[in-house]
Each structure stands twice: as structure tokens, then as C-alpha cells.
Amino acid sequence: MQVYYLEFFVVALGLVMLMVDAFAKLQDKRSLARLGILGLGVVFLLLFAVQSPSNAASPVWKFYAAPDNLSLFFKGVALLTTILSLVMAIDFAPIVLSKIAPPDQGAHPQAGLGEFYSLPVFVCAGLMWMASANNLVSIFVSIEVVSITFIILAGYMRRNVGSLEAGVKYLILGALSAGFLVYGFAWLYGITGSMELGPITEALAKPGVNSTAAMFAFSLILVSLAFKLGAAPFHIWVPDVYQGAPTPITAFLSVGSKAGAAIVTLRLVYPYLTSPVLGTKALAILVVIAILTLLLGNLGALAQKNLKRLMGYSSVGHSGFLIMALASTSYPGAVNALSPVAVFAYYIGAYLLMTLLVFLVLNVLNAADTGETLDSIRGLAKRSPFLAGILLIALASLAGVPLTTGFIGKFLAFKIALDAGQWMLIAAALIGAAAGFYFYLKIAASMYLDAPSSSDGAAIPVNLLTKVSMVILAILILLTGIVPNVIVKLFS
């Protein structure tokens, strides 16, 4: 099977879901989400049936990279993230329904829910296109599919002020960042005379390249990518949007959008890092951004009282570690034992597992109307030992406790920075990791040690699908924490 069929299967699935929603009289629209989960699961299995291109001359390869481990891995990340977000969206249905426009007279009582389940499937297709884009045009259009759909989803609960604010903020800042991206692309095209990443890499490596203009293009593109990654100093939107958006969408945004931005960053930054003329300059900029992101993200999280907001800052902090791996790239001449791409991919995989696990728990708490502040989960262990245990594993992994996947991710990031001799970065990362230990484990401690905030002692109900997803993610976190070689081997 040709690799570019995958996205069309996903788009077709989304269309089927929209059609079923419109024409089949479903009793309960939540079965649409189950259909989506099933379909995406099938596409995930098809990832293993991808063949190498049969017709290398087809114009599609000008826009779409031939399948390699990296792009297939990121397609898998996109699919898994979407599946888990849909799992969360099933639990979240009552809250969405209470915050969108009321149904018309005689309309289905769940009107508006079908779109909430179909749109993430289209985002998934966009993320999968991003994973394979090797041309400035296809990079731009796939980024726009993802961000425009995210604007709609973030502001979906429009009778909720927070969600509306999230939508509007993401809309305005997203448009600004798209402007920077296109302006940077225009300069890049002017300098290199090509839209394809292959010829761009060759042109940037030539000694005669105009380095002022090339670095200008680099910084414009980096502004936009840092916005998408949530990297400082373009991270201001992250906490507000994460807090306001519906919880399943926050989870989707924090993992899916970041993974998509990460693979695009990897593809766009590499031509600069490997260029003998521009490599050191580009590296210096990345180091500054990584240090700022590590510090602002992790230290900013210390003062947070709202769990979703805290996860926003945590996501910024993790971007710092990602960029740290990228900034430790060995430019020509240096030898690095570990491939930065492997570290990058491993970190994204680990981030997916632990962040989605936290959001799965938060989503259940949200749906049970427990609130989302730190106070609301005090003494959770007494009330729901299962949820508390799952959240403990996820938080330990986010903090980087040994024997979890988060530890291996951070370890690899430190190792590669050490190999590259980036001492400033290591110092910032140490401060960030220490702050992380404090605020993640503070939550864990309050779950286990404090007395419950309310007298309501009944266990919070968790449905089977959510429970199974939680257990699988928790097992994967521990498994990849103990035997990390599987993923690392894939990329070395």
C-alpha cells in the first residue's frame, strides 16, 4: 500500500462520520466517537503495511516524503493521540452539550456533538500530512488544516467564557504566527530558489549563501514554529488556551499539535544545522530559546493552582527539553554517539504517554464535576484509589522519576547535551527538572497525604474504555522506562 493512502483513509473516515451524523438517526451520538476510534485503530494497523514508493517519478513525492521510520513514527503518534482524545471526548459529552448552543425544537438532543467527534479526525489527517511534508507548500497547508480546526475545537463550548477566550486567542495569535511562517518561507524561497527541502538543504550548504538573509528567514520561521511548539518567548498563549479549551481538546492540542510542530521543526531546522556556513549561528539561537523555555516553563508552573493551566506550563517546560535535544545536534565535524533525531522522537513518544494519561484522569474528574483546581484532588487516594494510582504514575513520569519513560527521555536529553558540551543548557535543564520534581510531586503528595477537601466520599465512576486506555498507557510508561531500547533502536 502506498503511504499517502493513509491520510485519505483518515479523511474518508471523517467524512463517513459527518455523513452518519447527518443522515443516520443515531440514538446516542457517542457511538460516532467509537466508530472513529475503531477506524483510526485500523489505519494505525495499516501503518505496518506501508510499502516503499513504486513510482518515484509521481509528482506526489515533491510534496510528500517517501516513508521512513521517522515519518511513520509521527503518523503513529498522531493516530494514537486522536484515538485517546476521542476516548476522552466520550466522557466529556455532557459538558460539551451543556456549553454549546441548545438544540432546535424537535432536533436531536445531542445536536452538535457529532461535529465534536468528527473534527479531530480531520486534525489527525493534517498531523499525518505534517509528518511527511517535505515541501514548503505542503508544510504550510497541512499546518493550516491543523491550526484552523484547532481554533474551532478550542472555542467549541461557546457558552463558556473560558473556551471562547481560548478560541479567540488561538485564532489571533495563530494567524500572526502563520504570517511569520509565510514571510519566512518567502525569504527562504528567495534565497534558495526552491520550495523543496532537498534543494533547500543543498543551497544553504553552499559557501556563497547570503547568511544575513538566510538567518532572517530562519528567525521568521522559528518564531512561528516556537509558537506552535509552545516555546518561550512565544508561549504566552499556552496556559490560557489550555485552561479554556475543552479538556479532550487540551490533551489533543498539547500532544498532537506539539508532535506535529516538532517534526516540522526537525525538517526545517536541520538544513540550517547541517550547513557549514549557518550551523553555528542557528545553533546559538536554538540554545537561547531552549534555555528560556526550560526556565520560564518549569518555574512558571510553580505558582499554578489550576491543573490544566499547570499542564500548560508543564507542556512549555517539556518543549524546552525537546529543543535542548535539537540544540545539541552535532553540526559537521563533531561526532555524537546518539542521534538527536532518536532523542527527539523518544521524548515525543514519552511525552505522549504521560501527558495523555494525566489528561485522561483530569477528564474523568472534569466529567464528574470535581473541578480542576489543585484543591479539588486533595485526598483523591481515599476517594478513588485507582485514579490516584494512575495519576501518580503519570506525574512521576512527567517529573522524571527513574523506571518511568519520562526519566529515560530526560536522561537521553541530558546525555546528548553533555556529548555536545552545552553546559549552559544543562544548567538550565537541571533547574527546570528540579522545579518539575517539586510541582509534579506536590500534586502527588496532596492526593495521598492530605485529607479530602469535601465530605463526598463516593468513588468517581470510570467507564470501561477509559479504564482500559489508562491501564495500557500506565503499563507502557513503566515498560518503556525499564526497556527503552526498543524505541531508540528504531532511529539509530
Partner: protein, 167 residues
């Protein structure tokens, strides 16, 4: 030709400033039309006739008429004057000035000079429209399909977000 370039560039900038500074939304919309017309003239100067014509027909024509309709339907009077505090003005001005300095530095250091862009191939037997169509639906079929998905999701989203009562 150079004079015309500067003339139409000035028109574009004049229109752009009008959009920002006009107090009445209708005048702001018309300033945008002026800006689009100037842009269309610039495209035509670059021999991109089809894009120039589309700019006039689609942007200046259809989209701006829609804009005006909405402004008039909503009956937006003058926008209330926003009070800008001095620190805001200084910060925003600083960023703007820094960007101008940056861009002029880059341009002064040669811009993209030295790098020849791919030559445009003239083919008198085929019209502009035909060649753009061939490119869009031949070589560029994948990005076009992706944009189709983008338009679909945007349409679905607008309907869901804007209806007062959902069907």
C-alpha cells in the same frame, strides 16, 4: 514602470493605513478595497494577469462586498476609541521599529542578491489560466486536496459555532 510600481505600492500602503486608522468600519472596509486594487496592479505589472484579475474579482469584489454587507447588517457604528497606555505604545512601537530596522538591514546587506530564481518559461501557445490550472491539478494535486479538507472543516466549524439553535 518604476514610477507605476512606486505609485501602486503607495496605494497599497495608503489603503493599509486606512484600515488601521479609520474610525468608521465602512471606511476601513473601503480602504481595504483600495489596498487590494493596488495589489492587483502590482501583480499585473509582474505579468501575473490571472492573479491580478482574481485579486480584483474575488478579493476586492466578492469578499469585500460580503464584508460590507455584514458591517451594514450588524449596524456597527463608530468603534469606541481605545485608550492606549503609554507603556503599551512604547512597547508596540519598539517591536515595530525593531522589525523595520531588521528588515532594512537585511535588505541593505544584499537581500537575496546572487541567487537566481528559476526562470519563468513563456509559452505563447498556452494561456495563463490553462497553465495555472495544469499546475494546480497536476503537479500540485496533493496540496489542493489538503486545502479542500481545510475548507470542509472550516465550513463545518462555522456552522456549528455560529448557529443560535442547533439542528
Amino acid at each position: 514602470m518604476t514610477f507605476l510600481f512606486y505609485f501602486f505600492s503607495a496605494l497599497v500602503l495608503f489603503g493599509g493605513l486606512g484600515v488601521v486608522f479609520a474610525k468608521n468600519p465602512v471606511s476601513a472596509a473601503f480602504s481595504m478595497v483600495i489596498s487590494f486594487l493596488g495589489m492587483a496592479a502590482l501583480f499585473i505589472q509582474l505579468d501575473a494577469f490571472l492573479i491580478g484579475v482574481l485579486q480584483v474579482l474575488v478579493y476586492a469584489g466578492a469578499i469585500m462586498v460580503l464584508f460590507l454587507f455584514i458591517i451594514m447588517l450588524l449596524d456597527v457604528e463608530e468603534v469606541e476609541k481605545r485608550k492606549l497606555s503609554l507603556p503599551t505604545v512604547i512597547r508596540a512601537g519598539g517591536v515595530g521599529a525593531a522589525l523595520v530596522v531588521l528588515i532594512s538591514t537585511v535588505l541593505m546587506r544584499g537581500g537575496t542578491a546572487g541567487q537566481a530564481l528559476p526562470k519563468l518559461v513563456a509559452s505563447p501557445e498556452k494561456s495563463d489560466v490553462l497553465r495555472i490550472g495544469e499546475l494546480l491539478f497536476g503537479t500540485y494535486w496533493l496540496p489542493i486536496q489538503i486545502i479542500a479538507v481545510l475548507l470542509l472543516t472550516a465550513t463545518v466549524g462555522v456552522v456549528v459555532l455560529s448557529k443560535r439553535e442547533l439542528k
